[in-house]
Amino acid sequence: MERRKPLWRVILDELRRMEAEMNRVEEEFFRMVKEAEGMRKQITPLYNLYESGDEVILTADLPGTSKEEIDLRVGEDYFRVEAPCKSPVRKVEEGKYVLHVRLPFKIDPQSVRARYKEGVLEVVAKKKITGFRVKVE
């Protein structure tokens, strides 16, 4: 007769099944990223988008380029970054960084400032504040 599995084993097996499912979804994501990069020689950089008070901050990891070569475009609700990516050691072009980030709110494009330091691009913009002031009673 088959021995019953202990409870910890049942729970662990279920957790592992869930982990395998999550891995499958992640794997699909990584495959699509790599295939897209391979097809177009376009690299999606690692990036973060933060909201801090009335500012929006985008940082993107762009090693192998220079501030002169970064093409940064800003609209009321997007940031777009393009830059060549060159291997500093092998001196060959690896591809082109392309990053298009749609923002969940409007910004003032005139307020944008950007800097590039140690391979990381930082873009800071002020949010467009619209609306009326309401007196609190």
Partner: protein
């Protein structure tokens, strides 16, 4: 005990047995800014450490690494210069972390180590404005922490959370009475950070009295960041699964 079976799923294989006692163990599993991974791999390369074993587990994906026509294990153990260094080519699956932490510390204890060091990054949102990342240390005992902060410019890690394999190793080291410590450098959270790794290496150089020239690491930082982008992307996914962002918070205080 049944739960021991859970821990036995991780296998540590010594291809060339480490017979001597009193070595310093160093682990550099991938996490924040890949700081530990970059620092540990640099040590292996620069000190020309020899591959002496590997770690295997059912939960590891069925992958092999091939470098220069040579097949390699994913999690490798190196030794030499009275050091034992463990590195991994992939982020650890979440379900492997606890059994690996237990087994690795149990194995290290059997070798009577002088010290077990976990290398990592301390997530610093303001990293871009920091030219020289600060070093923070936490030992498995207050006495050990005191000893480790004697070097200049090193601070104690006072409050916060440590998630993942580093936290498990520190806890197991404390439970098993092995002198264990975590060395953290202020780092980008999810961008490879060779600058932070260089600071960890400078600290190790003083602590272990081993000459480690970090200039080549800093010179090739951009190239390294390019090469490590995929590992960082995968590590970022893994970190989301183990509440690594908790390291940006402070533990609750109730009075």
């Amino acid at each position: 005990m049944e739960s021991q079976e859970y821990y036995r799923e991780v296998e540590i294989v010594e291809v060339k047995p480490i017979d001597e006692k009193g070595f310093v163990f160093i682990e550099g599993f991938p996490d924040i800014g890949l700081v530990g991974t970059i620092a540990a791999s640099y040590l292996v390369d620069k000190l020309k450490l020899e591959e002496v074993g590997y770690i295997d587990a059912d939960t590891l994906p069925p992958i092999i690494a091939v470098r220069g026509e040579k097949i390699q294990e994913l999690i490798r153990i190196y030794s030499g210069r009275r050091l034992v260094v463990v590195t991994s080519d992939i982020p650890l699956p979440a379900s492997m972390i606890k059994p690996l932490g237990y087994r690795l510390m149990e194995w290290a204890k059997s070798k009577d180590p002088e010290l077990f060091l976990c290398l990592s990054g301390l997530p610093e949102p303001n990293r871009l404005n920091i030219d020289k990342p600060g070093i923070f240390v936490l030992g498995s005992s207050p006495e050990l922490t005191e000893k480790l902060v004697q070097a200049d410019g090193v601070s104690k890690f006072r409050d916060g959370f440590i998630a993942g394999i580093k936290g498990v190793l520190l806890k197991e080291g404390m439970r098993m009475n092995v002198n264990t410590a975590i060395i953290l450098a202020q780092s980008h959270y999810n961008y490879p950070d060779p600058g932070a790794a260089a600071e960890v290496l400078r600290y190790l150089s003083k602590l272990l009295e081993i000459e480690i020239d970090v200039a080549p690491l800093l010179e090739s930082a951009e190239e390294l960041k390019l090469k490590l982008r995929d590992l960082m992307r995968r590590t970022d996914q893994m970190m989301q699964g183990i509440q690594k962002s908790k390291e940006l918070e402070l533990p609750p205080v109730y009075l």
